[in-house]
Symmetry: C2
Subunit: 226 residues, 2 copies
């Protein structure tokens, strides 16, 4: 959380639309690109909401950001990819949970988190843009990996759809810091504070079928040592 820029330091310091304004606890809302980008860049996946047969559907999928767009990909047979490529209204939400906030009163228990909610419509990338985007995605997963792996062949590229949504109607919501108890509860003999939560790498697990002697590359050693 220390890497986040100070909120509202930049460009879009006001919501782009009524629906993208944070209503509950509005002082947790942020609308500047730096804050929104930092949250998206720290995430591996998003939850995509769309409407199918009058029913809301929320599907988790890998995501990455480049410039002012959020990207996802999927099989050309995926019902979500097909639906979104048709230009349906969508809502994409990314949430990073940073801690459990334990207050002296049940009521003031909370969570520390950083989230982004983005409204918009996806567009499908053309073949050239698609391969470049998949490269960005792979490098988002493990910087340095693209140079090493076999690139998509024609068949694989044909079977993959890459979609992107502009981030022009996005908002961030952030809670950080200790609990906020009522004045009269401050002297209760109860431990209060934050249990931080963080997603970290475990020890890399080599494919059991890995050719003997294949070393773990430096870019992965670096990642998993952080």
């Amino acid at each position: 959380m220390s890497t986040l820029p100070s909120p509202q330091s930049k460009t879009t310091a006001t919501p782009a639309s009524r629906r993208s304004r944070v209503k509950r606890v509005p002082d947790r809302g942020h609308y500047d690109a730096d804050t929104i980008h930092a949250i998206l860049d720290a995430a591996w996946l998003c939850h995509v909401g769309f409407i199918q047969d009058g029913q809301p559907v929320v599907i988790p999928t890998a995501c990455w950001r480049e410039g002012e767009h959020l990207y996802i990909h999927g099989s050309t047979k995926s019902r979500m990819a097909l639906a979104l490529a048709g230009g349906l209204p969508a809502c994409v939400t990314v949430t990073l949970l940073d801690g459990l906030v334990l207050a002296r009163s049940a009521f003031h228990h909370s969570m520390n988190y950083r989230s982004v909610v983005a409204f918009g419509r996806f567009e499908k990338l053309d073949d050239t843009a698609k391969i470049a985007a998949l490269r960005t995605f792979t490098e988002h997963l493990a910087p340095g990996r693209w140079a090493e792996i076999r690139a998509p062949n024609k068949q694989e590229a044909k079977g993959t759809m890459v979609l992107r949504m502009p981030l022009d109607e996005a908002s961030a919501k952030i809670r950080r810091g200790p609990p906020k108890d009522d004045e009269e509860d401050m002297t209760l003999p109860v431990w209060a504070g934050v249990l931080p939560l963080a997603q970290g790498y475990g020890t890399p697990e080599a494919d059991p079928l890995l050719a003997p002697g294949t070393p773990l590359p430096a870019y992965l050693r670096a990642l998993t040592r952080r």
Copy 2:
């Protein structure tokens, strides 16, 4: 992941409805209660999808499970809580990311995850059920905490809504294990395997305003030592 029961060991081994059937990579789909419950019980938050003014909206919120229901709560002023209490169709999705799957080919890169997608409508709990549910929620966050903290007073209870959705139209989707590369790529000199990801506790951060000498209780020491 080792604590997961073996898939399809129980009751609902088939999807409850057409829309709750896993379509993409159907062998990753599970419909038994044990598998679905285990994923929900390991989560702190869910993403709730609903429709507002014809637009899909996806909002992250804390969740917990008891029996055959998924629970959420919110302020009685929250537009989401109010909308859901009205019985709107909803979709609740929980996703646990377990690792990045690094294949020899770009195409076969993947993620290991456990997710649940549940369709249904929420109902609002009455006042008595509400306090019991908030207790269950607090104990889900930190088992042992409810006995210690100040319980909600009348005003706080009045301002809090607890909602629950039946889990009778839910499905789980799970990917685990190493990458699955094409036969002809198996001899490429590229490290392949899984970078495990896990959410873990950091060192508890006491509220700066904590009364001096208030100890970290045993139930929190136990949690953060795991």
